[in-house]
């Protein structure tokens, strides 16, 4: 091997090393199927050696007796935010506890399981389970809160941080009227349904299918911990808050799942030309949003998006020609109705719409969720 070949080999090895490291970090947060084979249901029993209670996913480590000796396995669970909502705490399990886990094995053959349920061995006591059900609304709807000037409050009327919106009725962007089987991350049950999700152009349909066939593992929200953009901001169970700054005629959309990112929605009638210095030739991650009230509905027009993100769970593509009209209505204190019209002639054959509702989570602050390295 000559010097040049050795150098090339080193660079190649370095490159793949960085790539592999990046991939392992990136998959710290992911659609389940991207990392685990849900068709590989397994059950195993072992003793807890530790609990790593952190975002984006908690891990429980267990020692499992096998013919080859003791093996240490990692059980991956939901984030502490979701686990807390389901009554779990970081001390719910102690080292030495014997547990039985049911779940799915990792695709790469490593000793990891996605934990569907976790019970104390020899008992029916479930120490970990997550309900995906949306909590029921109050039997008697509470009236929609208003500001002193009579306008609808999109959050708390005092502007404080004592509530947020969560539990979207849909977690995947699909054209209104289409009934398509998929999981909460947007993974289609049948790839043949892809063309029915939205009126995709041929290239966009092929790219969407490609992402689906790769189990959504290339999603930059998971791969690079990017925040959700576009309508995806409102399809996370980690919630969001609409903070109205009436004095400065703007609304801040604070994204619970977005590493403390925020989007500004201007209410002062400005042109969608970006900063006052003018940068409308520079597309932005959240685009440029301005809004007005149409009766009791907040209408937001946004354009000027870049193409750095997936704007939906499931991987529907968009282009920088995307323009959105979003409509927020609060028919009662605990319900927020959301409707969006997607107009992107770069990726779709026509404009199309989707809608869903969200529920008010009162008495709590917006969860602090960082994609990586955030302990709570």
């Amino acid at each position: 091997m000559n010097k040049r070949s050795k150098l090339a080999g080193c660079i190649s090895a370095l490159g793949w090393g960085v790539f592999t490291l990046g991939a392992s970090v990136a998959l710290a947060h992911h659609p389940i199927e991207a990392k685990f084979d849900i068709s590989s249901a397994t059950t195993m029993t072992g003793r807890v050696t530790g609990v790593d209670w952190r975002n984006p996913h908690t891990h429980v480590f267990i020692n499992v007796e096998s013919p080859a000796g003791v093996e240490n396995w990692a059980i991956e669970l939901e984030s502490p935010i979701v686990l807390r909502h389901n009554g779990w705490r970081n001390d719910s399990l102690q080292p030495g506890d014997e547990v039985t886990v049911e779940g799915s094995l990792a695709r790469d053959g490593s000793r990891q399981i996605w934990g569907e349920s976790l019970k104390l061995a020899g008992s029916s006591h479930v120490v970990y389970a997550v309900t995906k059900e949306i909590p029921p609304l109050p039997l008697s709807p509470r009236p929609t809160p208003h500001w002193p000037d009579g306008s609808i409050a999109l959050g708390s009327t005092n502007g404080a941080v004592d509530g947020y919106w969560s539990f979207p009725s849909e977690t995947v962007l699909v054209e209104d009227g289409a009934e398509i089987a998929m999981d909460e991350y947007g993974k289609l049950a049948d790839l043949d349904d892809a063309a029915r999700v939205a009126p995709l152009q041929p290239w966009a349909l092929a790219l969407y299918k490609h992402r689906q066939q790769r189990f959504l593992q290339d999603d930059p929200m998971y791969l690079n911990c990017k925040p959700p953009g576009g309508p995806r901001q409102y399809q996370s169970n980690l919630g969001f808050q609409l903070l109205e700054d009436k004095e400065n005629s703007r609304i801040f959309a604070l994204v619970g799942s977005g590493n403390r990112n925020f989007r500004i929605i201007y209410m002062d009638g400005r042109e969608q030309t970006g900063l006052v210095t003018g940068d409308d030739d520079n597309p932005l991650y959240y685009g440029r949003s301005r809004a007005h009230w149409d009766g009791e509905t907040l209408v937001i027009e946004t354009k000027g998006f870049n193409e750095d993100f997936w704007f939906s769970n499931g991987g529907l593509p968009h282009t920088d020609r995307l323009e959105m009209e979003e409509r927020f209505t609060r028919p009662n204190a605990d319900t927020l109705q959301y409707a969006v019209t997607i107009n992107d002639p770069g990726a779709y054959t026509r404009a199309w719409s989707a809608s869903w509702t969200m529920q008010w989570v009162g008495g709590e602050e917006l969860p602090v969720h960082f994609c990586q390295n955030n302990r709570q």
Partner: protein
């Protein structure tokens, strides 16, 4: 050999330095592409800029020097191949690593009198 060596370098950098590449999750052709067309009299380095306006692919090869405007370009999403015609040149290539921002196109180029391999990597 030089071409092979450069190809290895390009592949290694493409695989390893993902964070240095600007994201592009929209149309796969959009962006700046740098690479080599082997044996081209214009020089083996090639730079392409391509865009998608919703109906057609536009772009230029070696802007600022050769300024070869792309006359037509067709993407076949069934197999992710692309056919580009620019002046006297015809390029046929296939997308690799489609899912990554640093995807590449490999294939062949053909001019009036010459032809060879081409590999370009999105930056």
């Amino acid at each position: 050999m030089r071409f092979t060596f450069k190809k290895i370098i390009i592949s290694a950098l493409a695989a390893g330095l993902i964070s240095s590449v600007s994201a592009q999750e929209g149309h796969p052709v959009k962006g700046s592409w740098i690479g080599e067309w082997e044996g081209n009299a214009l020089g083996e380095s090639v730079l392409m800029v391509m865009d998608w306006d919703g109906e057609k692919i536009t772009g230029v090869i070696n802007p600022g020097t050769d300024d070869l405007q792309i006359d037509s370009a067709t993407l076949n999403p069934d197999d992710w191949t692309i056919h580009i015609e620019a002046g006297d040149y015809v390029i046929d290539g296939t997308f690799n690593r489609l899912e990554l921002p640093n995807r590449s196109i490999t294939g062949t180029w053909k001019g009036d009198n010459d032809s060879g391999n081409i590999e370009i990597v999105r930056q």
